[in-house]
């Protein structure tokens, strides 16, 4: 079975984002970027399925600027086989990303698509579910365990009350949650090998997808600042304070 893994280039999760003074967005100039952590988990899961012999080929896709190629290279170094970069400098919304991915699925015919549950920049948590709907496929969103069960895929999902397990007919879309696996670090030899793996460059127009945004950003602002309060000396002082403000 072939697996498609979309990977997104985002701000490094260890960097604190700053809002631009003009309110037009978040300042990403000279900011360290990385693969979205949930996408790393998606790549890792695909690689593990390949190691188990369930998966034969892993195709990585990124939709974004030329530098998104670096993100694909990281995934190739982790064990992906080849990449597709859909290059664009516009910020592509999840709906358009899902439409492009649907066209790639049509061409590549994978048995499974594994996406991250959310990208840590826009926090939309939409793309995988949208893709599943556009394809008419079932989905296992927020997965913490994935296993083949005969012809079906069994997915355990992290839900508000605990865990839920569903059985999906294939092809299907899975979106990853944090506990699915711990992604490996790419080793130096694998990083070197990944340089030789093929990456095809395309444009959204090649897929006939209109990526014009449906949403316009009116402004991006700093959230309300919360001031540090006071230090309390001991438990008695804490209890007294909490009583004085009616919190207990």
């Amino acid at each position: 079975m072939k697996v498609l893994v979309p990977v997104k280039r985002v701000i490094d999760p260890n960097v604190r984002p700053r809002v631009k003074a003009d309110g037009s967005g978040v300042d990403l100039a000279n900011i360290k970027m990385a693969m979205n952590p949930f996408c790393e988990i998606a790549v890792e899961e695909a690689v593990r399925m390949k190691e188990k012999g369930v998966v034969t080929e892993i195709v990585l896709v990124s939709i974004g600027p030329a530098q998104a190629q670096e993100t694909i290279r990281i995934g190739l170094a982790m064990g992906g086989d080849r990449g597709i970069l859909v290059q664009t400098d516009v910020a592509v919304e999840p709906l358009a990303v899902a439409k492009i991915l649907a066209k790639i699925v049509e061409a590549e015919q994978p048995g499974l698509v594994i996406t991250g549950k959310q990208a840590i920049d826009d926090d939309a948590n939409q793309t995988g579910q949208m893709l599943a709907a556009l394809l008419g496929w079932p989905q296992g969103a927020f997965a913490s365990a994935v296993a083949m069960d005969g012809e079906k895929l069994k997915v355990t999902r992290e839900v508000d009350g605990g865990l839920q397990t569903v059985s999906l007919s294939l092809p299907a879309v899975v979106t990853t949650d944090l506990r699915l696996n711990e992604p490996r670090f790419a080793s130096l030899p694998n990083i070197m090998k990944a340089k030789k793996k093929p990456i095809e460059t395309k444009s959204p127009a090649d897929y006939g997808v209109d990526v014009t945004p449906r949403l316009t950003v009116v402004k991006v602002a700093e959230p309300k600042k919360r001031e540090a309060g006071e230090k309390v000396a001991d438990v008695d002082a804490l209890i007294a304070k909490l009583k004085s403000v009616g919190a207990i």
């Binding site: 999760p13 604190r16 700053r18 809002v19 978040v26 949930f38 999840p94 709906l95 899902a98 549950k117 959310q118 840590i120 920049d121 826009d122 926090d123 939309a124 948590n125 939409q126 579910q129 949208m130 599943a132 709907a133 556009l134 008419g136 079932p138 296992g140 969103a141 999902r157 992290e158 839900v159 508000d160 009350g161 605990g162 865990l163 839920q164 397990t165 059985s167 299907a172 949650d177 944090l178 945004p213 449906r214 949403l215 316009t216 950003v217 009116v218 402004k219 700093e222 959230p223 540090a228 309060g229 006071e230 230090k231 309390v232 438990v235 008695d236 804490l238 209890i239 909490l242 919190a247």
Partner: protein, 309 residues
């Protein structure tokens, strides 16, 4: 104008997030209908009819709805949307699972986890783990929105909406429910608890998490939360995780114990009314947002606090 609100429920009872989503829909305006799709869910439908501001409740019965399978809910809602201008769902794991499918089918760009309705096409939502608040305007004819429950207050008063039944879409669906493991607890539900006690990596084991965090929570009648580090290490179950990629809470009182205060954690709790942090490191970032900071060893402080309350 009319809004369809997806109810979050467990068939027997409505989840709090439903009333708050109705409140967000009221801010949007127009007639509000609440969809209760479930299995033996009459009790939940009757509860929805009592929410203030609701025109009618649409009650749909079907086995596929007993666990809100996304594929089934999509098949149900998409045809219904010809009669509505907007679809609102709570940003719970159920809402997040279902709403994007409906948006994609309607060819609409979903607006995720709104914290404010500015007007009928403009919404505020947090991005970058709450480090920025984006105001977005949608050009789509219909709006598909998920609602961050903690940002809205349920409308006061009681309603008496009519309850109508509607037919379930024919299956089979390509996904089927297998099983679930839900946390059973008499404690208040984390997402809507008035008080929350959360433990972090410093608890160092599941046994100590239970031994130190739970008695304090019980003394306070609080819900229990955890940092991702504590969940990843197996000290607490996954549904305890508070943060950017877990649950968002905004209780009256939040007590963070042995939690450093990474931005991803703060994203899930910094709108709490009063924050108490207990940490042995006086430089811990959590202290930058805490109202009351107690520096010291949690293994000494927490038992003392529990016994003195």
């Amino acid at each position: 104008m009319a809004v369809l609100v997806l109810a979050e429920h467990n068939n027997a009872a409505l989840n709090d997030a439903t009333a708050k989503t109705v409140a967000a829909a009221q801010a949007f305006g127009g007639d509000i209908d609440v969809l209760v799709a479930g299995h033996n869910a009459k009790a939940a439908a009757d509860a929805a009819a009592k929410l203030a501001g609701v025109r009618k409740v649409i009650h749909v019965e079907g086995e596929a709805f007993s666990h809100a399978l996304a594929e089934a809910v999509e098949a149900l809602v998409v045809p219904m949307m010809s009669g509505y201008d907007a679809f609102f769902a709570p940003a719970t794991t159920t809402g997040k699972n279902v709403a994007p499918r409906i948006a994609a089918k309607l060819d609409v760009m979903q607006i995720s986890e709104i914290t404010k309705v500015v007007d009928t096409s403009t919404f505020e939502r947090p991005i970058y783990a709450g480090n920025a608040i984006m105001t977005v305007k949608s050009a789509d004819a219909k709006k598909v929105v998920t609602v961050r429950a903690t940002a809205f207050q349920a409308a006061a008063g009681a309603g008496s909406a009519s309850v109508e039944s509607a037919a379930a879409p024919a299956g089979p669906f390509k996904a089927t429910f297998v099983s679930e493991e839900l946390q059973k607890s008499d404690r208040p539900e984390l997402a809507s608890a008035k008080r929350v006690v959360s433990g972090g990596r410093a608890l160092a084991s599941a046994e100590q998490f239970d031994q130190y965090i739970l008695p304090l929570a019980d003394k306070l009648g609080a819900g229990v939360g955890a940092s991702r580090a504590a969940v990843d290490a197996g000290y607490a179950p996954n549904d305890f995780q508070v943060g950017q990629t877990g649950k968002v809470v905004a209780p009256e009182l939040y007590i963070a114990i042995g939690i450093s205060g990474a931005i991803q954690h703060l994203a899930g709790m910094k709108d709490s009314k009063i924050i108490v942090a207990i940490n042995k490191d006086e430089e811990a970032p959590i202290f930058q947002i805490a109202d009351y900071a107690l520096v010291g060893d949690l293994f000494k402080i927490v038992p003392e606090l529990t016994s003195k309350l």
